[in-house]
């Protein structure tokens, strides 16, 4: 069974290789590290000339689909694991305002490059995700027990009986009833507040039809807030070139 890294989505079949990858690529994970990964130091960039062929490989090799791309096999992921931070940077040039006339003319976009504020508890969430992958459950045992409850479709009454009859140890798993367990489930998904469903009604002249939708800005916030995407998100237009000098128009942000 392949295990996917929560921070860069590499896949590993062996726990040892996964742990080595976490220690090497995601050591001391916090927001500061994330910014250094996106902007690697100069000595790392200068070393790219020594393994130019490796750096210019298509990104799909490291970020490939489970089913479709045979190049993204487990062995390849484990073999390339220490170099993943260096392979993420393609030969790109981020456009500045003075070289991008369209952006320079947009007066309404003034201040678009200035952060308005800090997201509350973002650093704590990143740290908790790294230090305790089972959060908000207290331990791996509690996570496994809760998973078993759900997958086995154990009724709420039986779960309460399990703890009230002292069959299970509530102190080690972190919950003692279905009430406390459901409270923990509400905090499992960090992004659920962005994806609330709304109900609307429309009349077609004969009847009233219900329909359901989400706030589109909430969906945008959910995607931009995903920690797993933070190394891949692109916020500014780019120019990308091949080795021969031809321009690449593969992405939406690389268009003219």
């Amino acid at each position: 069974m392949l295990v996917k890294c929560s921070f860069c989505r590499k896949r590993y079949a062996r726990a040892g290789a996964y742990e080595t990858h976490l220690q090497s690529a995601h050591a001391n994970l916090d927001i500061v590290l994330a910014s250094t990964i996106r902007n690697p130091p100069a000595d790392v960039l200068t070393d790219r000339g020594t393994d130019l062929s490796d750096a210019n490989e298509p990104i799909e090799h490291s970020n490939s689909d489970y089913e479709s791309d045979p190049a993204g096999d487990t062995a390849g992921s484990e073999r390339n694991a220490p170099d993943d931070t260096r392979r993420r940077e393609p030969e790109t040039e981020v456009l500045e305002d003075n070289t991008y006339p369209v952006a320079a003319k947009q007066e309404d976009c003034r201040g678009a490059r200035e952060a308005i504020g800090e997201v509350k508890k973002c650093k704590e969430q990143c740290r908790d995700l790294f230090e305790n992958p089972c959060a908000p459950l207290a331990s791996a045992q509690g996570f496994k027990l809760a998973s078993w409850f759900i997958e086995s479709k154990v009724s709420k009454t039986r779960i309460n009986d399990y703890f009230s009859n002292s069959i299970g140890n509530s102190t080690s798993v972190g919950y003692s009833s279905i009430y406390t367990l459901e409270n923990l489930f509400r905090h499992v998904d960090l992004y659920s507040p962005y994806l609330q469903w709304l109900e609307g009604h429309v009349e077609d002249g004969q009847r009233t039809l219900p329909f359901f939708y989400r706030n589109v800005l909430g969906c945008v916030s959910c995607l931009l807030r995903q920690i797993a995407y933070r190394d891949d998100l692109v916020y500014a237009p780019r120019r990308e070139y091949q080795q021969s000098g031809q321009k690449i128009y593969a992405e939406m942000h690389t268009a003219d």
Partner: protein, 195 residues
């Protein structure tokens, strides 16, 4: 800037108990590389809404025409409601939490809509044989003869508003604007309500 990519397709759920269908509308953003967006396990495509399914058409051509018109108006109104929050953010921007731990002002703009041809026909209210992108006549589809301008649905709505009784006119008494309207409406079937 956050370019939004929408996608929709009506899908059949079952043929029992009255042909149940669903009409999901999905969305993703162009800030993510396509190698990540297209991956099934990346959860980069979110379900944005479920459009109402119109009732079955009656077995009468006049009633069919009325139903199609009502359905087009209905779906236009529903899509307007779903994407109404983008009206202000496209120009003024809106504060959005980002993965780098900061709140940025983002300009969310609808940039693309991925659908198949029949979905284009339904959403745009056009006939099934013309091209939904440009005004090439149906008989010239597939050929490279000439260049035809793109479809401007705002212009169609303007012509519709300026010529409400177009169907009753004869070709001999058409004005220039009416002829243009007829030219572009050869592919048009219904028009969305003015917002």
């Amino acid at each position: 800037m956050v370019p939004i990519i929408g996608m929709s397709d009506q899908t059949n759920l079952t043929n029992f108990s009255g042909d149940k269908k669903a009409w999901p509308v999905n969305m993703t953003i162009g800030n993510l590389p396509s190698t990540i967006r297209k991956r099934p396990g990346s959860i980069a495509i979110l379900l944005l809404g479920l459009l109402p399914i119109p009732p079955k058409l009656a077995k009468c051509s006049r009633a069919d025409k009325l139903h199609r018109l009502i359905n087009a108006y209905t779906h236009g109104g529903v899509l307007e409601l779903i994407f109404a929050p983008l009206n202000g953010t496209a120009r003024e921007g809106a504060p959005i939490d980002c993965a780098d731990g900061k709140i940025w002002r983002r300009f969310s703009i609808m940039s693309g809509w991925i659908v198949d041809h029949m979905e284009n026909v339904t959403l745009h209210g056009i006939k099934s044989n013309p091209c939904p992108k440009c005004e090439v006549p149906p008989e010239e589809l597939g050929s490279r003869a000439g260049h035809h301008g793109g479809r401007d649905y705002a212009r169609y709505k303007r012509y519709e508003r300026e010529n409400p009784s177009l169907d009753s006119e004869t070709h001999d008494t058409l004005t220039l604007a009416t002829r243009m309207k007829l030219m572009v409406s050869r592919g048009g079937k219904t028009f969305f309500k003015d917002s």
